[in-house]
């Protein structure tokens, strides 16, 4: 259950920062990115996948959230 910080970089792309691993990586894909639902599975540029509890509104960035390992499908 690492804490991750999601922010937009200078080019407007989402990046994810994991303090525990000191890792800054671009977000390649996010499962839900609509005005009524935001979150879900997050794929990072290094290939790792995290799961964010979906929020009902897109959050104000940057934001620190708790991420967990994705559910084994």
């Amino acid at each position: 259950m690492p804490k991750v910080m999601i922010r937009k970089n200078a080019n407007g792309e989402l990046t994810c920062y994991i303090a525990k691993k000191d890792l800054e990586a671009a977000v390649v894909s996010i499962e839900h990115d609509r005005s009524d639902c935001w979150g879900g599975e997050l794929t990072l540029s290094d290939g790792s996948v995290y799961y964010l509890e979906p929020l009902s509104v897109p959050p104000e960035l940057p934001i620190t959230l708790r991420a967990r390992r994705p559910n084994p499908a």
Partner: protein
């Protein structure tokens, strides 16, 4: 571009690490790479921020060095106690040339060493009482201090002292900021974790001090310089440029900085981050909590400085942008004269770097402005995001080495034969004795500052002075030189 092709470079790396035992070879191989500017992600080619292999000579420091030496140490009006045995503080005292203004021992304390000087009995019975007493003594002897930080050395974590409790108690008693910093040297793999711990302690104990206080008159042009430690005055040579273009520098983190400046930083409009590695943590925190955007900039060499100044100005209104252009125009003749003078003397020379923090990538532009080429670079304690930022700056088929060992660095230099090496004091004399010109890029070799346009003139002069020094042709004894007359027996 280096002279070697990618294949030759790969063969070179292979040849150098061949001597290692199997296990070390496997792990070191991941830390050495050949640059490919086309890559976006450094993870595909180089591993960073991993524990150094036992038995290999590393140049890294410890978490205490990252916190006391780098982040907290330069805060000039606070007293930083090296809590634990005397050596850690004494042997690192005043070594980093963090310049500051003030009267040492009266209202500023950067170059002094404060330590609790642990003895056997403190290890056995705990040192909390001693710390308590020490803070009282500091208050008596140096009443003008604005606050105290307790920088833990290894034993504090090992014996389980509760420095947080003591700090809270003393904070009540003396009414000043007292910050416990859990930066025991054994934490993490290098000084990098010390930076992180120090940033977190700033966040937890300092930053929110003036959250409910609006008495500070802000302007739209307030900025903070983050991650500039004023080594040889670099923060000052950056600051004057920012001020000339109409910005107000509220805080310097942490070179020549004060506790009050740190507390005021949440009120600025933009954080300018120079050393990303050591202060991105606090910038991220301020972005989230106070909605202060941050950006990285680079003040080494005119090309990068101009680029950065324009990038900073673009964050503000037209009046700043106008003044920014005026500043650039004002200094242009100066730096052009520097380039005209030194470029012919330095053109085509090849450089290898091995430093920490931001310099392995930031100074590349300054060398390129002088027509020099960086053929190898590496970080002592960088993470993969540092290498991401480096890939684009370096030429194709140049060498990248992470946490390079003494042996590897020597071998690379022997084979690549650079004209100049930029690294630290521990490497300096080895390479000078090998006959390779060398500049310390940690402390600017007791020269500097190298930031900004003024700094570039000094940088160019220093590089010329080192590279074109007549001593390099005199390394061989006269009677050993080719063509020397054979001595006649008396």
């Amino acid at each position: 571009m280096s002279d070697l092709t990618k294949e030759e470079m790969e063969a070179l790396i292979q040849e150098v690490i061949e001597v290692y035992p199997e296990k070390a070879l496997k792990s070191r191989k991941k830390h050495l790479a050949i640059n490919d500017p086309g890559l976006d992600q450094s993870q595909n080619c180089i591993t960073a921020n991993k524990k150094s292999d036992p038995g290999l000579m590393t140049i890294r420091g410890c978490a205490y060095a990252g916190s006391k030496g780098v982040v907290w140490g330069p805060v000039k009006d606070m007293i930083h106690i090296s809590h634990g045995p005397v050596g850690c503080g004494q042997y690192s005292r005043a070594g980093r040339r963090n310049y500051y203004i003030g009267t040492t021992g009266v209202n500023t304390f950067v170059t002094m060493n404060f330590t609790s000087d642990f003895q056997e009995r403190d290890i056995v019975f705990g040192g909390d009482k001693k710390l308590d007493k020490l803070i009282d003594e500091i208050e008596t002897l140096f009443p003008l201090n604005k606050g105290i930080t307790v920088q833990s050395e290894c034993p504090i974590g090992l014996i389980g002292d509760d420095i947080e409790a003591v700090s809270k108690k003393k904070k009540e008693e003396i009414g000043k900021t007292v910050v416990p910093v859990r930066c025991e040297g054994f934490r993490g793999v290098s000084q990098s974790l010390g930076h992180h711990i120090a940033n977190d302690s700033v966040r937890d104990w300092v930053l929110s001090a003036r959250d409910d206080d609006d008495s500070f008159a802000t302007t739209d042009y307030d900025v903070a310089i983050i991650g500039d430690y004023n080594i040889g005055g670099i923060a000052w040579s950056s600051r004057i440029l920012l001020e000339e273009m109409g910005l107000r520098v509220v805080a310097q983190w942490s070179g020549d900085g004060t506790l009050a400046e740190m507390e005021l930083t949440p009120k600025v409009k933009l954080n300018l981050v120079h050393c990303y590695r050591s202060m991105n943590y606090i910038s991220r925190h301020m972005e989230e909590k106070y909605a202060i955007p941050w950006m990285e900039y680079n003040f080494f060499g005119p090309t990068k400085t101009v680029e950065s100044l324009r990038k900073i100005a673009a964050r503000f209104d037209a009046s700043i942008q106008e003044k920014c252009e005026a500043v650039i125009a004002k200094y242009q003749p100066e730096w052009e004269a520097v380039i005209d003078r030194y470029r012919p003397r330095l053109e085509g020379k090849r450089v290898m770097l091995y430093v920490g923090g931001l310099r392995p990538r930031h100074v590349i532009g300054a060398y390129e402005d002088l027509g020099m080429e960086v053929i190898g670079t590496g970080y002592e304690f960088g993470h993969s995001d540092d290498y991401d930022r480096t890939l684009k700056e370096m030429g194709d088929a140049t060498l990248l080495y992470d946490d390079v060992t003494g042996y590897e660095f020597e071998e690379f230099v022997k084979r690549l034969k650079p004209d100049l090496i930029g690294s630290g004091i521990k490497e300096k004399y080895i390479f000078q004795k090998m006959g390779v010109p060398f500049r310390q890029m940690h402390s600017w070799d007791y020269s500097g500052p190298y930031h900004g346009f003024d700094g570039f003139a000094i940088f160019a002069k220093d590089m010329d002075m080192t590279l074109n020094n007549p001593c390099w042709s005199k390394l061989e004894a006269p009677w050993r030189q080719a063509g020397a007359k054979t001595t006649v027996a008396a």
